[in-house]
Amino acid sequence: MAIMDFTKTALKNLFSKPATTQYPFKPKEYPEKSRGHVEINIDDCIMCGICSRKCMSGAIKVDRNTKTWSIERMGCVQCQACVNACPKKCLTMAAGYTAPSRELTVDTYSQPIPETKPGKIVNDMSKCILCGLCARKCPQECITVDRTGEKTWTIDRDKCVQCGACIDACLKFKALSTADDDGEKGIVTLHKE
């Protein structure tokens, strides 16, 4: 048992510099991986909307028609899920938080609306070996590859967002590529000879 056991510490504190930071008079320095806010390199974004779907708190809105990508700053929980999911890696998590404000801040980024219509993914079945890599990489899960049975490669045109992940996945075989959108809809199945 001790009486006023804390005295030493208290006196030491009294006569040494306080631990207090000088924020906001001096800016805060963040560690490099600090998760502060989401940044977008809007030029690379293909408006696939994956980030929007991954976002647990529904902070991201992607409008493919107007080519706008917007984030509700007061709704983003900095989970980084969108960043991890973005097929184009155009999202990054940067240090530093969004400034508090009197309104619910929404940041909107947009791209010029291109004249050309977006293309569609086509498969040169002669090159395809039905490895299934594209299917696995497809964030939309719109590709199915039947390797053992019918030997088909199927794509659901309605679900595909032309993110190009499958093309990247198939770089080795170069079976996939884009073509002009001719309005083809629904499930399209291609057979391997």
């Binding site: 306080p18 631990a19 207090t20 930071t21 924020y23 906001p24 805060k28 647990m56 708190s57 529904g58 509700e72 700053r73 007061m74 709704g75 983003c76 929980v77 900095q78 989970c79 938080y97 969004t98 400034a99 508090p100 404000s101 009197r102 309104e103 619910l104 801040t105």
Partner: protein
């Protein structure tokens, strides 16, 4: 001469927060951030407080609590929603027992984002509230 901005007393209510923001609010009082530098005192009593810091969203059971303590605060008063939950419900906004952000129940003046809101952000929020307090107290005087 000194006015409201020199001595903003805060009060903190923890709604349905996950503790994250809640603890960051407390952390503001501790040596590293020490908001008492700005004259902030954490009163815990609505009748003494100028700024209400709410963390977490509102649900069925605490909405009355939030309303009551808001009403018991004296003018001029400012409400800061601390953290995403308080701003709009965050990841929980689809839960069956979440009504949404604090602004569903009482008027929110300052939104402080972050999950969890960083102490720096909370300090910024408080600093912003000061301007608002000044505005409000001016209005109050004119209103009188």
């Amino acid at each position: 001469m000194a006015d409201v901005t020199k001595s903003p007393w805060i009060m903190h209510y923890d709604g349905t927060s996950c503790n994250g923001c809640d603890i960051e609010v407390l952390a503001c009082l501790t040596p590293l951030y020490d908001v008492e530098r700005f004259g902030v005192i954490n009163t815990g009593n609505p009748k003494h407080a100028d700024i209400l810091l709410i963390t977490g969203s509102v649900n069925e059971q605490n909405k009355d609590v939030v309303k009551q303590i808001y009403e018991q605060m004296t003018e001029p008063k400012v409400v800061c929603a601390i953290g995403i939950c308080a701003c709009n419900g965050g990841v929980f906004k689809d839960c069956y027992n979440i009504l949404g952000g604090v602004d569903k129940v009482i008027p929110v003046d300052i939104y402080v984002p972050g999950c969890a809101a960083r102490p720096e952000a909370i300090i910024d929020g408080v600093v912003q509230s000061l301007d608002l307090l000044k505005e409000k107290s001016k209005k109050l005087k004119e209103g009188k």
